[in-house]
């Protein structure tokens, strides 16, 4: 009975796992003939999980290992929305490419359940379990187009570097366990409060743990895999990685910063260095790209840097301002990226050259709506006012200012690299609107699912950019 109660308390997660099992059952019963059923099942389980999430109040600790606070809920909600969008985007594509649909959605739900574990984890073992559960299905998903060289390369690279990162992570956890004999966050926090008892084991363990999370968050200098994997994976999977994995990894980092990590200046410096490197490397790397997916990959590294400024502020302040700034930024970033990848999916139709920036020259004439939506996504990523991206940046800068002098330089660097970023984001806008039209695309009608996903995301970007009060209230009840 106890187990049942705990499972009910963790219902969003349980529902996603049930969805995963149901899809596998359907696939087993009617292999390859299930048509749209897996996608509908996935959407149903995600929808129910969302409904459960929104209809109950925060509180409790399922299994004593998972948090069910405002932060876990906000991130879970975001992850569920992202997954829903990815299901909607992916299904028509899978159908067109005649790829197995059931497995895809099952793997997606498995990965999603890992993400939900990661954002709730209050124990290092659960965190590790979540990260593995998140990653392993994604290795397969990244290589889902296994007959194309790009897809195989993406999957293989992601697997190798991901395995490497897991090694760091598990080694770090082992050292931390050695240092304090606990893996629960409460136990770790108790040791974090006692500087006199912290030895080399503890410090090395923390460093390795954070490196492992840094890999998943795509922060420099752990970013080398990002461009190739984002490029090679099929676009819905890339969207899931960019929005979902990032949100999960930053959820974990934020919880560690708020609940576990000691107040140490060395640690803060580490965060600041990684943040600065990410902002610089990501933005400079993106300046050179002409392929849209690679551009977004590099820009995702830059955004990891901006987010890390917020996490560093959270480490310093351990308060709701810093936490909400990261959460808001993640929401804005995830919505924008999902919309951008949905549009790229529509435009590229999985053909290499069509995702090159040059192929979009003068698109605004023949495709006004798509161009408008894409331009808006890039403006939001650039942080132009009236978009959610602007307010995200504003909140992160505010969090950095409240954290005192240590974050002065990162905040200034954030502003300066944002100017660089405007250079490549506006290049996309310029290509769409200012170049003469060279090719008129054939007339592929925008599939309904992509239209819905982008319309809703773009609307959300604008609404959040103009009227953020409701979301902020929901974050900080």
């Amino acid at each position: 009975m106890n187990l049942l109660r705990e499972l009910v308390a963790a219902l969003p997660l349980t529902l996603v796992v049930l969805g995963f099992v149901a899809i596998l059952a359907v696939e087993t019963a009617a292999p390859r003939r299930s048509g749209r059923a897996p996608a509908l099942l996935a959407a149903l389980s995600i929808g129910l999980a969302l409904a459960r999430l929104l209809s109950t109040r925060a509180g409790g600790q399922p299994f004593g290992l998972l948090a069910d606070d405002a932060m876990a809920r906000a991130l879970s909600g975001l992850l569920l929305l992202v997954a829903l969008a990815v299901v909607a985007m992916a299904d028509p594509l899978l159908e067109r490419l005649a790829l197995a649909r059931g497995e895809f959605h099952a793997l997606l739900l498995a990965s999603l359940s890992g993400m939900l574990l990661v954002v709730g984890a209050r124990d290092l073992l659960v965190l590790f379990l979540g990260i593995e559960l998140l990653s392993i299905p994604l290795y397969v998903l990244a290589a889902y187009r296994r007959l194309t060289p790009d897809g195989v390369e993406a999957g293989f690279k992601y697997f190798l570097l991901g395995a490497f990162a897991s090694g760091f992570l598990v080694f770090g956890i082992a050292l931390l366990y050695g240092a304090c004999g606990r893996t629960h966050y409460d136990g770790l926090a108790a040791l974090a409060a006692r500087p006199d008892l912290q030895g080399t084991l503890w410090r090395a363990g923390l460093a390795l743990l954070l490196v492992g999370v840094g890999f998943k968050a795509a922060a420099a200098p752990f970013h080398a895999w990002v461009p190739d994997v984002y490029h090679g994976a099929s676009t819905p999977v890339t969207a899931f990685m960019a929005a979902g994995v990032k949100a999960a990894a930053f959820g974990a980092a934020l919880r560690l910063a708020l609940e576990v990590l000691p107040a140490s200046s060395a640690l803060l410096t580490g965060f600041i260095v990684v943040a600065s490197l990410s902002m610089i490397a990501g933005n400079l790397g993106a300046l050179l790209q002409t392929h849209l997916k690679r551009l977004l990959a590099w820009s995702s590294i830059a955004h990891a840097g901006y987010l890390l400024v917020g996490v560093a502020a959270a480490l310093q302040r351990r308060d709701a301002i810093a936490r909400d700034s990261v959460l808001f930024y993640l929401a804005a970033y995830a919505l924008t990226t999902v919309a951008a990848f949905a549009l790229i999916l529509h435009l590229g139709r999985e053909l290499g050259p069509a995702q090159d920036l040059r192929a979009l020259r003068g698109l605004a004439r023949s495709r006004p709506w798509i161009s408008f939506a894409l331009a808006l996504c890039f403006l939001s990523l650039a942080g132009v006012p009236l978009t959610a991206g602007f307010l995200g940046k504003l909140f992160v800068i505010q969090a950095a200012w409240t954290a005192g002098a240590a974050l002065l330089l990162p905040a200034i660097l954030l502003a300066l690299t944002s100017v660089v970023a405007l250079g490549y984001y506006l290049r996309v806008v310029a290509t769409l609107y200012m170049e003469p039209e060279d090719v008129r695309l054939a007339e592929p009608a925008v599939s309904r699912s992509i239209a819905v996903v982008t319309t809703l995301s773009v609307a959300a970007i604008l609404v959040l950019g103009v009227w953020p009060a409701p979301l902020l209230r929901w974050l900080a009840p």
Partner: protein, 489 residues
């Protein structure tokens, strides 16, 4: 009590822009007509704003909650400084739409959308009384202008557009950092509250630097001016008119509205530097203008020169000079707006802007010649026209405390007369330059209608400046209260 007039002046063009953007099937001409009517309606709506408080207080206030977690509010209002600039904006907009009949034949609807969106942003900049809101409007007007230059501009338009954006944003992100810092330090972004807040000398120093960086790029103050000629040369006529007429004033307006009253100590300390740069701009801009061959470049550099006067007037922190500076902002918008419109009109006929290509237009295009001479005389400050009043007040006001700077700036007036009259001479008189000159028709009724209101204003301000000055001066005095306490006796 909330006054909704300002909300209407911002909301009407914004709503119209959204509506036009959402109707992709609307044909070009109805869209343009709708935009024109909206722009005229906005202008008429904005006229009552001119009746500002004679003691310089901020009126027509609107105050609504926006981001409660942050204590950021939608707070609008105008006083004697901002009201004339708002009306200048709303006046130029219908003229620009009307002028677009001559040169915008492709993607007309989008052109109108961009113009109206920009109008909302620009009015917002002058009306915002909350720093965050101000920043939002400040940036909001940027992207439409970027697109306007980049889509409808000349051959090097993409380069000019991105240069313009990068320069401006590099400055304005520093402004953002400073604003966010102020909000977290004082817990408020409200202008009235912040005027009562006091910052330490060190804080004032860097806050002033960040604010001034954003505004001086926009003005543009030498040596941050290099984006301006590029942007002007590549921009379409409407873009140039808006750019010179309104967006440059956002910089000088920001200096007056925020830098002087909020950071008075730092402003007084920085005044010698800014005055030196302003005078350098007056002379250097004038010399550069003298050396140009492209009509638009001449006017662009003359803007650098004229805006230098404005900055000089503001940073002497002397009532008459600063009042003259505000009037000069309006004047520059009117005269330079008219000149850019005229250049656009001749470009539509000749498809060239090289000064050397022209000559003897006075004989074939008398109406055009009259208008060019009129606008030129206004621009160089002939007594009886608007430019004289502003320049005269600035020079008179600055003379006592800064005789050297004033003397040098007066040299700029002379320079202005030299290159502008040189332009008139080459363009209108002398031998016929272009073989096709006789084929160019003189200005038509539409073009005269565009110019008429500007010329009427030049005369009106020149003859009866009191009506404006009496409202500008008390508002300016309020802005100067704090810095004047800091001035050495």
């Amino acid at each position: 009590m909330n006054d909704l007039l300002l909300a209407a002046v911002i909301g009407l063009p914004l709503a119209a822009a959204l509506l036009l953007a959402l109707l992709p099937r609307l044909p070009a001409e109805p869209a343009r007509l709708a935009a024109l009517l909206v722009a005229i309606a906005t202008f008429l709506l904005s006229l009552p704003l001119l009746a500002t408080d004679l003691r310089g207080a901020i009126g027509r206030e609107l105050d609504l909650p926006w981001i409660a977690a942050w204590n950021v509010r939608l707070r609008l209002g105008v006083d004697g400084v901002s009201a004339p600039l708002v009306v200048l904006t709303t006046l130029l907009m219908p003229l620009v739409v009307l002028a677009s009949y001559g040169h915008v034949h492709d993607r007309v609807r989008q052109h109108c959308v961009l113009l109206l969106a920009m109008e909302a942003g620009m009015v917002g900049v002058f009306a915002a009384l909350d720093l965050v809101l101000f920043y939002v409007f400040f940036e909001m007007s940027l992207i439409p202008l970027y697109l306007l230059i980049g889509i409808y501009g000349g051959p090097r338009r993409t380069f000019a557009a991105i240069k313009f954006v990068l320069f401006t944003v590099a400055g304005s992100l520093l402004l953002l950092l400073a604003i966010v810092w102020i909000v977290q330090r004082t817990g408020s972004a409200d202008f009235a509250t912040l005027r009562r807040a006091s910052f330490s000398t060190g804080e004032q120093g860097w806050l002033f630097a960040a604010f001034a960086a954003a505004f001086c790029v926009k003005v543009p103050l030498v040596p941050l001016h290099t984006w301006l000629p590029d942007a002007h040369v590549e921009a379409p006529t409407g873009g140039s008119v808006i750019l010179a007429g309104v967006t440059l004033k956002m910089g000088t307006y920001g200096l007056l509205r925020f830098c002087l009253p909020l950071f008075p100590g730092a402003a007084v300390d920085a005044a010698p530097l800014l005055i030196a740069l302003a005078v350098a701009g007056v002379l250097y801009g004038g010399l550069l203008a003298w050396a140009q061959d492209d009509l638009k470049k001449i006017i662009a550099y003359s803007s650098v020169s004229h805006l230098g006067f404005v900055v000089l007037g503001l940073f002497t922190m002397q009532s008459a000079a600063a009042t003259g500076a505000v009037l000069q902002m309006v004047n520059h918008g009117i005269s330079t707006g008219a000149l850019f419109l005229l250049i656009g009109m001749i470009y539509e006929r000749a498809h060239t802007r090289g000064l050397a290509d022209f000559g003897g237009l006075a004989r074939t295009m008398p109406r055009f010649a009259f208008c060019v001479i009129f606008a030129t005389l206004s621009s160089i400050g002939l007594p009886g026209l608007n430019g004289f009043v502003g320049e005269f007040l600035i020079l008179i006001g600055s003379w006592r405390d800064h005789p050297v700077a004033t003397g040098l700036a007066a040299g700029g007036v002379l320079l202005g007369a030299i290159y502008m009259l040189g332009l008139v001479k080459t363009l209108l008189f002398g031998p016929v330059g272009h073989p096709k000159t006789p084929a160019w028709r003189d200005l038509n009724l539409r073009e005269l209608v565009i110019l008429a209101p500007l010329f009427a204003l030049m005369l009106w301000i020149g003859v009866a400046p009191r009506s404006l000055l009496s409202r500008i001066e008390p508002a300016v005095d309020r802005m100067l209260e704090a810095p004047r306490l800091e001035l050495p006796p």
